[in-house]
Subunit: 481 residues, 2 copies
């Protein structure tokens, strides 16, 4: 069974998505070129410009609020990282007027540079939201563009939220159309579909016409960002930031009638053909406005790629249930989904950043520390002798019967005992999502040490009540240092 | 015979490149993975940071001066076009300090935005320089980044010229490694290799270390610009501009130690594997520093894609030699290289911009007007009844025996006569390059109506004497309105 099928059918098709009225769209069966490849971009653009917030179900709007809360926490939490320090230092001399905030910092930059920085910050810890079908991080490119725009021109909280939903819809539908082949080719999908999402969201706020929205998507199509080769370096976080900036710029240009292709996604030499080895345009056009992709958004309990969450969840549960300490453990055997080794197969990470791509490190750190927050992926943790010793006793076996949110763990103790655990749905997955209060706790943890005491609570309240806010930009002001 | 073979072997292998000491590098024979795929990026970066201007042959430096002159004229000439007007209007509100000039205009923008605008301007008329092996427009991404930098920090004319040579070298070698397959996939190669060229040139000026240069190339690799689908729209000119800006930004970030992949070009999921269906890394590493790619640069006598230049050249010659008028012509039959129809096969263009992608229009306009400057590709020319009528009487036949710089034209006159012309090497091709005085005349034509009288001559003088100039930025000041 191929990964896409596992992902789409095994993992998600059977799932009831928490908090959302949407079901999964049907994307199977033979595809007629005449009905499916005509005017894909235009139909998407037409939907984006005509979509009205009154028509969006309450459960979808609620999920969008959770997305905003989670994204804001991630951006604040990552804002003091060296990656952001360097980017601000390198580019501030060229920034325009102080139009928009960099969350968690005192810097104010022009709208385009602010969207770049906030997109970078939000991805630093690999702690941001994840679309369950495509592992896109939907908010990363969309929210920074919108928040910067909100500081530049009047935008109500309700309109902000609606534009976010529109941006995520466009971005994730395009991702659905090419996943997993596009990802397999080597593209970091968040950076390649992100410009579409940011362009659609910003274009919605700017009031683009249908034709202008098509052009904005064209300008987005021609600026994909992100090779997967960059994983493990600062450039990975650059991807959602630059995607956001590219999409926002696309909307500004298209809004002044800078022309582009009328079929940027579906043309013979359009985005989908050039950047993917397969595509299904029905994923883009079917049930537009009836089913919302943000319903498939998920939030991470651990600051690393979602594919190793089952292993961490299982390790923490085994440790707690059996009151284990690392020195009792002789061996840990994992049976994992194929993607786990493909994405996080580094056996001996050298830096904190690299350790996020090591299931071996993650499991060892979980066992040694008993919790897996950002410090578990620090340079210090990577060099911790206890973690290093245990890491070498972790082995993995790929098992195609294991779902993406599953793991099977066997621990052999030095006293001869064997402990087994099967995680059916990891915490943070579609079947076992984080609760609102877990999201709030995660937010507070991320804001700690960055924002003044009390600010986190006010931000949380503001996020939950965003739809009643007259000015969405207040979110940026609260989240700035 | 495949296109790449025609291009590399038929067209160029036999050619003596005017004004250049270089010969063609050997890129054939079986490729050993071990020797060819290791440290490709690092070897290129090491060469770029250690290259010294004293080692560059005089003929190469002379070709670089011709490149600068031609590029400056194109950027000045395109600067008042609607495409640039819109881009400046859309993005100026977000520009930083007035650090650098937009050529041909009064606008001053920050360094990054200036590089974008000048890159757009220089490609507007499709009149810019063309690498004969890959149809890359080498100066488009490289020169704007350097010129903007020259206004931001001290840079002598000689160092400017050397950095330009380095940038073009990096950009064209990477292009050589993936051409024609990368182009066939659907990428606008100038926009995808351009960020490498701009990053290398800017990184040279900024004094990056070898490791920083590797990272700069990594940040360039992850930001390719340009789908060929955009041809015929304003977004095509956006590609070299954004490529320039991306590469310049990459150099700024890398200069502050923003990390990226160590093997961005050659890794399994690196640029060459993800963006092309074939690759030959020897094109990147063989004879680095012994052979210079700028030797293969060419300059267009007509403001459209180089592939239809033979047809225009032949049409103009037949018209002049036989004192033809359009109404004498019953039919024009062209035998053309396959790329002509692939790139310029539009039978009925609707706009001036589209007409550049119509060999039918180009030949008809040549016959009707007797010269082919920018007005021949205006909206007015497209709607000219005489051009439209003749356009419909032009037919094409693909002939794989015809080289890229060749065409075979047969004109059937209404009086029954038949005129034949075989163009062996079109004007502007490797075997028949434009002379220095033809380049000067082209420059003056482009500057006419944009810059004050007399300024064109001063600019021409400054370009020819660039190596003696203490301050390269004077070029920008002379070329600003």
């Amino acid at each position: 069974m191929k990964r896409g099928e596992i992902n789409r059918r095994g993992f998600l098709r059977a799932s009831a998505i928490s908090g959302a009225a949407a079901s999964i769209s049907s994307a199977e069966g033979p595809q007629s070129a005449s009905e499916s490849t005509r005017d894909v971009t235009r139909r998407l653009a037409a939907w984006a410009v005509t979509s009205r917030k009154e028509h969006v179900p309450a459960a979808i709007r609620r999920e969008a609020l959770r997305t905003v809360l989670n994204w804001t926490g991630c951006a604040v939490g990552g804002s003091r990282h060296e990656t952001v320090e360097i980017a601000v230092r390198a580019l501030k001399p060229f920034s325009g007027p102080e139009q928009a905030s960099v969350l968690g910092r005192k810097d104010r930059l022009d709208v385009l540079n602010a969207s770049l920085m906030n997109g970078i910050s939000s991805h630093i810890f690999d702690f941001d939201d994840t679309d369950l079908r495509t592992i896109v991080h939907p908010a990363g490119p969309v929210a920074p563009a919108l928040l910067a725009l909100a500081e530049y021109r009047p935008l109500s909280g309700a309109d902000f939220l609606h534009a976010l939903i529109v941006g995520v819809e466009v971005e994730c539908r395009i991702a659905n159309a090419v996943y997993p082949q596009h990802y397999d080719v080597g593209w970091h999908i968040t950076g390649t579909v992100g410009p579409f999402g940011a362009a659609a969201a910003a274009g919605k706020v700017l009031g683009l016409s249908e034709q202008q929205m098509v052009w904005a998507l064209g300008l987005a199509a021609t600026q994909p960002v992100g090779l997967r080769e960059m994983f493990g370096t600062m450039t990975k976080s650059f991807h959602p930031g630059r995607a956001s900036q590219n999409g926002l710029m696309a909307a500004f240009l298209a809004g002044q009638n800078f022309t582009s292709s009328d079929q940027p996604i579906e043309a013979a030499r359009g985005w989908a053909n050039v950047l993917s080895s397969a595509r299904n345009y029905r994923e883009i056009t079917d049930k537009l406005g009836d089913q919302y992709q943000i319903a498939f958004n998920s939030y991470k309990p651990f600051p690393c790629g979602v594919v190793i969450h089952p292993a961490i969840d299982g390790s923490l549960q085994l440790r707690a249930d059996n009151r284990l300490t690392a020195d009792q453990i002789a061996r840990i055997d994992l049976r994992v989904h194929p993607l786990v080794l493909e994405l996080t197969g580094k056996k001996a990470p050298r830096t904190g950043l690299e350790s996020k791509f090591s299931v071996y490190h993650a499991v060892a750190a979980a066992m040694v520390y008993g919790r897996v927050g950002e410090p578990a992926f620090s340079d210090r943790a990577v060099r911790d002798p206890a973690v290093m010793a245990l890491r070498e006793r972790v082995s993995t076996t790929v098992d195609e019967a294991i779902g993406e949110d599953q793991v099977r763990i066997a621990i052999m103790l030095k006293d001869g005992r064997r402990l087994d655990k099967f995680i059916e749905h990891a915490i943070g997955s579609a079947r076992n999502p984080m609760t609102d209060s877990q999201l709030e706790a995660k937010f507070k943890g991320l804001a700690e040490g960055v924002l003044p005491a009390g600010r986190a609570s006010r931000l949380i309240d503001f996020c939950w009540n965003l739809e009643q806010a007259a000015d969405a930009a207040h979110l940026a002001r609260l989240a700035a240092a």
